[in-house]
Symmetry: C2
Subunit: 434 residues, 2 copies
């Protein structure tokens, strides 16, 4: 074996994930050193809140609040970015690469927004940039997509990549809870943040999908190209009707190639209840990818949390340490050659579930189906649900055949204007991907 070199680690951000990574580095140094081909030594920590160093046993001297002092440390080989958020994380990562440091990050926002630029900088400086932890916590995804499935033309991703919403949806489905109650329970258990908007509105999932789609389709898919819609409009009765119809409701991140253009969208979806994704409960993540050779493959595991995330962060660190020790740096690939574009949401085509309150009188369905028909939307089934005897308002559920999003949106607007329609209560897209 070659002479072992100790690898200097610089850590930016000592929050939940950062502390988790420090704990791994200090808990099992011998195991990591054996795999890395040399010990991993924490040389410098950048953290605005100096009080955080206490409980982790980090010596005071390696702490700094100043980026310049941090990045100037000559013995830092690998910078680990765990600040989160776009800035200053992006600027710091960029600067770290420019100053010759390899970078490991768990930052989905930065990687989804600045993938191309960061990878270019890394390539220009012949440095490694790894971000396995940015999607799916510790579940191996980036490397399998980029390397292990490389012989495939990947065609579709269906993914549960947000544990918070999957936890909420699971409780709504199993216990008949309303959204607000389920959210509150998730918050009490620490599965949802006090301000849960990024999770429940699908923003977090859109970041992750942008990263996966970028790798899978060789096209830089940015978050602003990913349509996202959250779960807050779902009601207990939508789950009841879904079950009656043989479906589960999941917040799916979907990216697929349709005639060489890309669909990329995050929204609640009816999926067949006997599909594996329908059976993914609680905070777990499951990412399904389809390739021309491999067929469908699913990766499943914990998508968040300090330990699962540090599994990916520390594995990335070890890979780079191995590269440094062998003198063979795996510079990131920039597989952007496809010339594909992301399709506007208005142009997608799928099936739809619609729930509306209408007057319980003859001719109602004729008026609604006329509007749908005028927009080339074909109905696959209609179920009249309950009628409130006091108001004579009935609830009807319509399932459509595949239709264009734009046509459906327009038809729903016109339907809502009908005198006999009290409200369009909800509509959810349907994917029969199994």
């Amino acid at each position: 074996m070659a002479a072992k070199k100790s690898i200097g680690i610089g850590l930016m951000g000592l929050g939940v994930i950062g502390s988790g990574v420090v704990k791994v580095l200090t808990d099992k140094p011998d195991t990591l050193a054996r795999e890395a081909g040399g010990s991993l030594v924490l040389k410098k920590v950048l953290e605005v809140d100096l009080a955080k160093h206490g409980s982790l046993g980090i010596e005071r001297g390696i702490f700094t609040t100043q980026f310049e002092e941090f990045i100037g440390h000559p013995e830092v080989d690998i910078v680990v970015e765990l600040i989160g958020g776009e800035e200053p994380a992006f600027a710091y990562m960029r600067e770290a690469l420019t100053r010759g440091k390899h970078v490991v990050t768990a930052n989905k926002e930065v990687m989804s927004k600045h993938w191309g630029e960061l990878l270019s900088v890394a390539r220009d400086h012949h440095l490694a940039l790894r971000c396995e932890a940015s999607v799916g916590g510790g579940i191996p995804l980036i490397t399998p997509f980029q390397d292990d499935l490389i012989a495939n033309d990947l065609s579709a991703i269906y993914a549960i990549v947000n544990g918070t919403t999957n936890y909420i949806l699971t409780r709504m489905a199993k216990e008949g809870l309303d959204f607000s109650v389920a959210l509150k329970k998730a918050q009490e258990l620490g599965y949802a943040e006090t301000n849960p908007a990024n999770d429940i509105e699908g923003v977090d999932a859109a970041y992750k999908l942008a990263i996966l789609a970028t790798i899978a389709f060789g096209t830089e898919v940015k978050p602003e190209n990913v349509y996202h819609e959250g779960i807050s409009r779902l009601e207990a009765r939508d789950f009841r009707y879904a079950r009656e119809l043989g479906y589960a409701i999941k917040l799916l991140a979907i990216a697929k190639l349709v005639e060489d253009s890309i669909e990329a969208r995050v929204h609640p979806v009816f999926i067949p209840e006997d599909s594996l994704l329908a059976k993914i409960d609680g905070v777990y993540n499951a990412i399904r990818v389809e390739g021309d050779l491999v067929g469908k493959v699913i990766f499943y595991g914990e998508g968040a949390g300090p330990r699962a995330t540090s599994s990916a962060v520390v594995s990335d660190i070890i890979k780079i340490a191995q590269d440094i020790n062998s003198g063979m740096i795996s510079v990131p690939k920039l597989p952007f050659a496809s010339g594909r574009t992301v399709k506007p949401m208005a142009d997608i085509e799928t099936r739809y579930y619609m729930r509306m309150s209408v007057a319980d009188q003859p001719g109602v369905l004729a008026q609604i189906s006329k509007i749908l028909g005028d927009h080339a939307i074909s109905i696959s089934s209609v179920i009249q649900k309950e009628t409130d005897p006091s108001t004579q308002i009935a609830e009807i559920v319509i399932m459509t055949h595949p239709a264009r999003e734009q046509a459906v949106q327009q038809a729903l607007k016109e339907t809502e204007r009908l005198a006999i329609v009290k409200e369009i209560s909800n509509f959810v897209r349907v994917e029969a991907q199994e």
Copy 2:
């Protein structure tokens, strides 16, 4: 980009998988060349049955029946071994490495039996040796285990790695079929071979488990150290009782660390019906691995078939081609440093399901539970099932608390000798791993 080099491929074995790989190489040469950094050119094919070249459009001239002619071809950079079976595949792979050829293989038997030796030869000659296709078809497993989860101490594998038996068990469970009927249907559909012994007796799964356990635990686990037991003793009523008790029956390949020694075994298992592995139906594979950081991760997909398998084979070829073009060969790791040993089957501890036919008379249970108690086996539940009125023979089902395998085997022998016991109809181990 550096100058592109064409990479010469030598293929041994033009059976179902070999033909699948040739088809991929000829169907999408441009995609593969872009990923590999140079075109992949089939230079030589070794196949005893010369008639096979016809339908694949391979020119007659690159065919040979002679290994010496094959291996002597100067433009073959990578030898792809798809002959299958132990010999001559092992001898050819060894010789190929000795003669300076990188090797890709799908051969679970050779890799499980000769892992250490082949990896040593590859390292000595500074060559790549890749075998992603040897376990789980196209599902990425070897690389994730070795690299993406490298920061983890892996502790347990629970895997459905044989599609044939999972297909048979699925039909037995869903349709109440007997084993022989389900096997026949699997054979008619091409999911089981005419001589299905290797699959249904657990031999195939034992090869695959040996490979996964070797990587996961840093100890060369050989097939002869893996206990294996097949599915042919299972009857329709075992599935019925399992369901009543809240379990599914699967053929699991299990490897785990228990107090630093390794359990490695393949046999039918009762698993909780709400676990994800219980929901894996048909010919699909699912491999669950547990690590100290990542928690549990599951990899799911098609475990066999020419297209799925060629996904892994061709991805391995591309990785080596990339290495050749970059001048940085990833020599295989030999992570054997643990000094762990494989525990004898007699020493494992788990729960058991027992089904037996007994005389329907008072005192029967007292006699049986006395024997179990004498062997320190504690009963968790007993259910008396049907009594045949004509014979006065009753069927009883016993579930035990965790007990030692050796004690259970001994107790069953003694129980079978009791006058009131007509037969021990079956016993199945129980894993409550969720």
